[in-house]
């Protein structure tokens, strides 16, 4: 009964502290919310949500007649592309490059003087390139422009190849074709290509990787990962911060006073541990529910989520107590908690859940920290994993958490002997 009295008193104190509330719930939701606002609507593949990239076009191709340069300019200026790019025609190359340098434009498209001639002149096999001069700090905008132009050029490339292959094959088999045959082949290809262009992306069967089945939209998948990282970071923080009340009470003199009451020391420590556990439980459940409601994160099936909640709470409580058992004063605890949790959190992968293309050896490094194990479990539940998928990380969390708790208890018992 006294265990619960002590736990309740500690929780009353933490939940009355605005600081603790912000650290428990405010910051993880704030950071995830910022990511949500930053990428909402965009990474669901909906490029319309991006601000159009400013493009400066210079057409150096002044060929009379069939002017391919003009076609490219017209294509870039076409109505369908206005959501993606905002095109300005520039009189010369220098001013287009200048516009990029001064950030008036993200990309300059420079159509070479021999552009049309290269297309017309099928005999020489000469090649030419459209130059994209881009602002080096931009990535997405220039990539879109590059794809649009690449698609446009492939149309011409295909026509030329169609004509060329016909001529070559005919020559190989000794069949004489008239002069227009290659051009007709090119034209035929061109017509075919236009019908194809009307229905892009129909040629591939796109699937998300296995893990993302619980959050089929890329945005919620990203936000889920970010939220998991932030939740775990701040849960471990709260574990240490709540355990810090032991040191705080030692300084306040209330711990010594508690020892003068008919309450055994193991009971007092147990009360503290219970308060850490219940606080963390409230925190994890609140964050999981709140983030599901606010950001639409699907944390996974109830059973594995329940398992991981318990595992996380036990491990964060044990780790927090262990950290605090090394701390002598609350003055020390700031740097110790902050430093140790930031570093283990970083190595555990909590700060980089939103990044792609992280080297695979990093997943191994993650598991050198307690945070890495629970993150592994939560990543599984987010990916729609079942109990079987999380049982490994879960067992490690529980066993490690209890072991850390045991070590911390020994240290505290020696300290308060």
């Amino acid at each position: 009964m006294k265990i619960l009295d002590i736990a309740f008193k500690d929780m009353l104190r933490s939940f009355r502290s605005g600081f603790a509330i912000i650290m428990m719930f405010g910051l993880p939701l704030l950071i995830t919310g910022l990511f949500y606002l930053a990428f909402g609507g965009i990474i669901n593949g909906d490029n319309d949500q991006l601000a159009p990239t400013k493009v400066q076009v210079v057409n150096l191709d002044q060929t009379q007649g069939v002017a391919a340069g003009n076609s490219l300019v017209t294509f870039l200026q076409s109505q369908e592309l206005t959501k993606l790019i905002a095109v300005t025609v520039s009189p010369d190359e220098a001013s287009a490059r200048q516009a990029v340098d001064s950030q008036q434009a993200g990309v300059a498209v420079i159509i070479p003087a021999n552009f049309s001639n290269t297309i017309m002149d099928s005999a020489t096999g000469a090649a030419t390139a459209v130059t994209l001069y881009q602002d080096p700090t931009l990535r997405l905008g220039p990539q879109i422009v590059r794809e649009l132009i690449g698609h446009f050029l492939d149309h011409y490339n295909g026509s030329r190849i169609a004509g060329g292959v016909l001529a070559a094959q005919a020559g190989k088999y000794g069949v004489t074709l008239d002069n227009t045959a290659s051009q007709v082949a090119g034209l035929e290809y061109s017509q075919w290509a236009q019908t194809q262009g009307a229905q892009p992306n129909q040629l591939l069967d796109l699937q998300a990787p296995a893990s993302q089945s619980a959050n089929d939209k890329p945005l919620t998948s990203l936000i889920g990962s970010v939220m998991a990282g932030m939740m775990l970071f701040f849960v471990f923080y709260t574990g240490a911060d709540t355990a810090e009340t032991i040191v705080k009470e030692e300084e306040e003199g209330t711990l010594a006073r508690l020892f003068t009451t008919p309450t055994s020391r193991p009971l007092i420590l147990a009360g503290k541990f219970v308060s850490v556990v219940i606080t963390l439980l409230i925190q994890v459940v609140t964050l999981v529910v709140a983030s599901a409601l606010l950001f639409g994160i699907n944390w996974g099936a109830p059973l594995p989520v329940g398992f991981m909640t318990v595992g996380t709470v036990v491990l964060a409580a044990g780790f927090g107590l262990l950290l605090i058992s090394f701390v002598k004063t609350t003055r020390q605890s700031g740097p110790v908690i902050g430093g140790a949790l930031a570093i283990t959190g970083m190595l555990g992968g909590l700060m980089t859940t939103g990044f792609n293309n992280i080297p695979s050896f990093f997943a191994t490094i993650n598991l050198l920290t307690p945070q890495g194990w629970v993150l592994k479990g939560w990543t599984s539940t987010l990916g729609g994993g079942g109990v079987g998928d999380i049982i490994g990380p879960w067992l490690v969390s529980i066993v490690l958490g209890l072991a850390l708790f045991g070590v911390a208890t020994l240290i505290f018992r020696r300290r308060f002997a």
Binding site: I6, T254, R257, L258, T260, T261, P262, T263
Partner: protein, 333 residues
């Protein structure tokens, strides 16, 4: 040169046993690393008495009290509080005692009422009994009006009162108070001394530590003087001052002379029992009769070309007892 009295030398001490014993301490000792914080401390406190542990800072008072509160485990000896051993029956001891720590030991972010409720539960109070006691204590310490306010916003005096109130929740038979008046204003101090007396009138046994002899003198039935971890003497106020005999204490300030030189000359005079040199270069003398000796002191001083710039004569008191036994003042230790 100094003789430290290690055994009680008060005549008639044994005959003082009138009532049952609330606290019996036998040969208590405690070491911290190589420092002997408390050595072979023994004393008894009868039920219904106020007994003070008097001594300078570092005398071992708080360590003794901590052992009696079962906070520290003694390295030697034992003590019985209401016949419960502090070594083997800590839980029963803790139930019997209330402790008022020197520092304010309260949760400043909880209200007065919440603090009392929590501490009451720690003493095993529940339900209506707890509610009733919390209200009584709030009334007793005069915080009924402010019971919902966080302790952090209380004045120093209010915190002190609540700090004491917490120790009274479970109606302890014995109350320990560890220097409860250190660093507070005269009015709050007066309040605390009055409340201690009031509690005692209601039958509470009080063990009180202090380094203010006036408090010990005013409050206590008996006084135990400690120094350097040992009990150097114990008894009632009257018994203790008798140790010094009928000696008066004279504090003198002299100028234009090396104090050490004049100290030696004065010590040689008949009727001067002890001369000690204080840190501020003033001199304290224990003399048989100040009226007789003063002219001689002036004469010696004049002979040395010194001027006596101030004289303060005191009748025998605890300060004099401590000085007599240790050669040091209570406050400059």
């Amino acid at each position: 040169m100094l003789q430290v009295v290690t055994q009680p030398q008060v005549p008639g001490k044994a005959a003082n046993h009138n009532g049952p014993i609330a606290i019996r301490v036998e040969g208590l000792g405690k070491n911290f690393d190589k420092i002997q914080a408390v050595q072979d401390v023994s004393f008894e406190v009868e039920e219904g008495q106020i007994v003070s542990l008097l001594g300078p800072n570092g005398a071992g008072k708080t360590t003794t009290l901590s052992m009696l509160a079962c906070l520290l485990r003694p390295d030697s000896g034992d003590a019985w509080i209401m016949d419960y051993s502090i070594k083997t029956e800590a839980a029963a001891v803790k139930q019997a005692i209330g402790v008022v720590p020197q520092e304010i030991a309260l949760y400043s972010d909880l209200s007065a009422k919440e603090n009392l409720q929590f501490w009451g539960k720690m003493y095993g109070l529940r339900g209506p009994k707890l509610t009733g006691r919390v209200e009584e204590i709030l009334e007793l310490v005069g915080l009924t009006e402010r019971q919902k306010g966080p302790v952090a916003k209380f004045s120093g005096g209010m915190k002190r009162r609540l700090n004491i109130g917490v120790a009274l929740l479970h109606r302890p038979q014995v109350l320990y108070m560890d220097e409860p008046t250190v660093g507070i204003d005269p009015q709050s101090r007066r309040n605390i001394l009055d409340s201690v007396k009031k509690l005692n009138r209601e039958g509470m046994t009080v063990l009180y530590t202090t380094h203010y002899m006036e408090e010990a003198q005013e409050l206590s039935n008996r006084i135990i003087i400690m120094d350097q971890g040992k009990v150097i003497v114990q008894g009632t106020h009257q018994e203790l001052v008798k140790i010094v005999g009928e000696q008066d204490r004279i504090n003198l300030t002299v100028s234009q002379v090396v104090p050490k030189e004049i100290a030696e000359r004065w010590h040689a005079l008949e009727g001067v029992n002890r001369v000690s040199l204080n840190e501020d270069n003033s001199l304290t003398l224990l003399v048989s009769d100040s009226n007789l000796i003063l002219p001689n002191l002036f004469e010696v001083a004049t002979g040395l070309g010194a001027r006596i710039t101030s004289v303060d004569i005191q009748e025998p008191n605890l300060e004099a007892v401590f000085l007599h036994l240790t050669g040091r003042g209570l406050r400059d230790s």
